[in-house]
Symmetry: C2
Subunit: 123 residues, 2 copies
């Protein structure tokens, strides 16, 4: 993987927010400083960074995929009203072992997403 200033800029954006942006939101943010950036470049780099474990993909069932610059194990909450994605502190590191006990599968990890309404939307 060679250096590219586009990819560096994407990583900077992802690591400076807790908003879990979508590909298009990252694209819009990048266009503020680089009007020539291509949406294809954003997608290609997001996949590259995911495949190398540098960022995290969050599938919310709701709309398009969200991305997280924080790869420390944690889980997420998606508000079914505003669709925002929140980080949760919940420790679920024991779950993978439970599945290993129950099955003969090789478990590499899990994705845990909670649904409901956030503080702003719950009334």
């Amino acid at each position: 993987m060679n250096y590219s200033k586009q990819r560096e800029s994407m990583l900077r954006i992802l690591r400076s927010t807790k908003s879990h942006p979508t590909a298009n939101e990252i694209y819009m943010e990048m266009r503020k400083t680089d009007s020539k950036i291509s949406l294809g470049t954003v997608y290609r780099n997001l996949n590259l960074l995911c495949d190398n474990g540098i960022i995290l993909r969050i599938d919310t069932n709701h709309d398009s995929v969200h991305y997280d610059g924080c790869v420390e194990p944690h889980c997420h909450f998606v508000c079914s009203d505003c669709k925002r994605v929140f980080d949760l502190e919940l420790d679920t590191s024991d779950l993978d072992d439970k599945v290993r006990e129950e099955t003969d599968f090789t478990v590499s990890g899990h994705s845990l997403v909670f649904y409901g309404k956030c503080n702003n939307c719950k009334d």
Copy 2:
């Protein structure tokens, strides 16, 4: 919701398998007995059945959405090789309460998907 033989047939298919088929797989299965069935009908009914809690949507991060005729709370394992979806017995009913303790959010449920390799693919 009026009766329709297309929807009845879909439910029969979904409840008679543990394979968690995609919309297209259900469509292909239905075409065996009804060559006129429309893919739009399959999608419309899948959404209708999901919205009414009669079937379950499973988002695997991998490809298109899978559906489950069993709505009893359970979680899933997706093989990253063959992409098959397996049921797990794991009881995770306590997780929602843990999130309620940690946050002020209204929690309606969660989706828990494990990743790894199944027995067939792990070597």
